[in-house]
């Protein structure tokens, strides 16, 4: 890739600054599996990039498929005296809205549906272009948005919540697990795989396309 696209003064940084204590380090290449830690406060400065951009894209696509499955199929079915009731994530959200817990409905919709889907779409979009070292249209906005919504996706917590709800319901009802819960299980595995990825590295590995 030609280097003329990089604006003067916006070269990739040669330093690490610890976010948790402001200590400055000179950057160095990390070997496979290595994690650079701050010697002052022990925070993680950087990790070795064990996953390529292609691998990230593949994971995002897999996560999308699992997410769709988890959302269209019911999560669990309860049975009592021959009556069966099942629900999806949106079933929960609509029910909380109708039962005058609108705050909870909005929180659940944001942290379990909208933020995760925005995260996947944006990450897929930027990594699609990053495969060839380019920056996608709207790269800056996408990366800033990814950073902002990062802490606000709670799918993992919902999966644990589903487990607790199943055990609680099992005291009084027949419980039948549905495909949705397996979709969420797969999603949780992918989220764990993602937890060690710092997408901010895309700032350093891509170049601004000349306008």
């Amino acid at each position: 890739m030609p280097a003329q696209g990089i604006k003067p003064g916006i070269a990739p940084p040669t330093l690490w600054i610890c976010e948790h204590c402001d200590t400055v380090y000179r950057r160095r290449e990390l070997v496979c599996g290595e994690v650079a830690r701050c010697t002052r406060c022990d925070a993680i400065l950087a990790r070795h990039h064990s996953l390529s951009v292609n691998a990230i894209l593949a994971l995002v696509v897999t996560a999308m498929i699992a997410f769709i499955q988890a959302n269209i199929w019911p999560i669990v079915t309860l049975g009592l005296n021959g009556t069966l009731i099942s629900t999806t994530l949106w079933g929960c959200i609509v029910m909380m809205w109708d039962e005058s817990a609108q705050v909870v409905a909005v929180l659940a919709a944001a942290t379990l549906f909208f933020f995760p889907i925005i995260k996947m779409l944006l990450l897929g979009w930027v990594s699609l272009y990053a495969r060839s070292g380019r920056r996608a249209p709207g790269f800056r906005w996408a990366m800033v948005t990814l950073y902002r919504i990062g802490p606000w996706t709670m799918t993992e917590v919902f999966v644990l919540g589903a487990l607790v709800a199943i055990v609680k319901a099992h005291m009084y009802f027949d419980v039948i697990p549905n495909p949705g819960i397996f979709g969420y299980g797969v999603l949780m595995l992918i989220i764990t795989a993602f937890s060690s990825i710092d997408v901010r590295r895309l700032w350093d590995t891509t170049e601004e396309t000349p306008a």
């Binding site: 200590t23 817990a101 950073y147 607790v164 609680k168 901010r200």
Partner: protein
């Protein structure tokens, strides 16, 4: 302390959003040249904002625990559960291991957050040099565990959607769950507003 250079001494600012290392131009509205996010040497008014959010969260935490979060009606029999009584029921009738998980997520984590953030705020404001490394780790723990407290809120949402057997059995959410959800969100905001670099600043940045 040790001789490691700090960005604020070298006139540098690290951009939180993209990791860019920028020169501190001492301007009021400096922006990162790479991602356009605003740059601050330290998060703005970190002490007062974190205190405000922490106190607000604590105020919401009281009704979250005192008011019931869920009502179960079965064959005319009404049973209101608070967070604690729900955990006890799970312990007695269901599975004690899950009761421990819910107890940790709903009671231990929020209480730990109140204590930990207060401790971090007070010690940083006093410019204390005590156990700085451990305090940094405590901050990262608070950040990491924060959102797991939403567990009980999602349990109530799922049970409400599932247990709709009319006269035989019905679950409704009660106001406690709304207060609890808000407590979790506000404590998350509080831990994000706290600037962990203040732990290492001593008295230099007292604002």
């Amino acid at each position: 302390m040790n001789g490691l250079p700090r960005a604020s001494d070298l006139g540098l600012i690290g951009c939180h959003v993209c990791g860019m290392v920028c020169r501190d131009v001492e301007a009021d509205h400096a922006a990162c040249p790479r991602c356009g996010s605003s740059l601050h040497k330290r998060k703005e008014a970190s002490y007062s904002r974190t205190w405000a959010l922490l106190i607000a969260a604590f105020i919401f935490y009281i009704p979250a625990n005192v008011l019931p979060i869920m009502r179960t009606v079965s064959v005319g029999d009404v049973d209101d559960n608070t967070i604690l009584s729900g955990i006890i029921e799970l312990w007695v009738k269901g599975s004690p291991d899950l009761a421990v998980i819910v107890f940790t997520a709903s009671i231990v984590v929020p209480v730990l957050k109140f204590f930990a953030l207060s401790l971090l705020l007070v010690s940083a404001q006093r410019g204390s040099l005590w156990a700085q490394r451990q305090r940094s780790k405590l901050y990262r723990l608070v950040e990491f565990i924060g959102y797991w407290s939403m567990l009980d809120v999602f349990v109530v949402a799922l049970l409400t959607a599932l247990v709709q057997f009319g006269f035989f059995s019905q679950v409704e959410p009660l106001p406690g769950v709304v207060y609890f959800g808000l407590t979790v969100i506000i404590t998350m905001l509080a831990s994000m507003t706290f600037d962990p670099r203040l732990i290492w600043d001593g008295r230099d940045f007292d604002d």
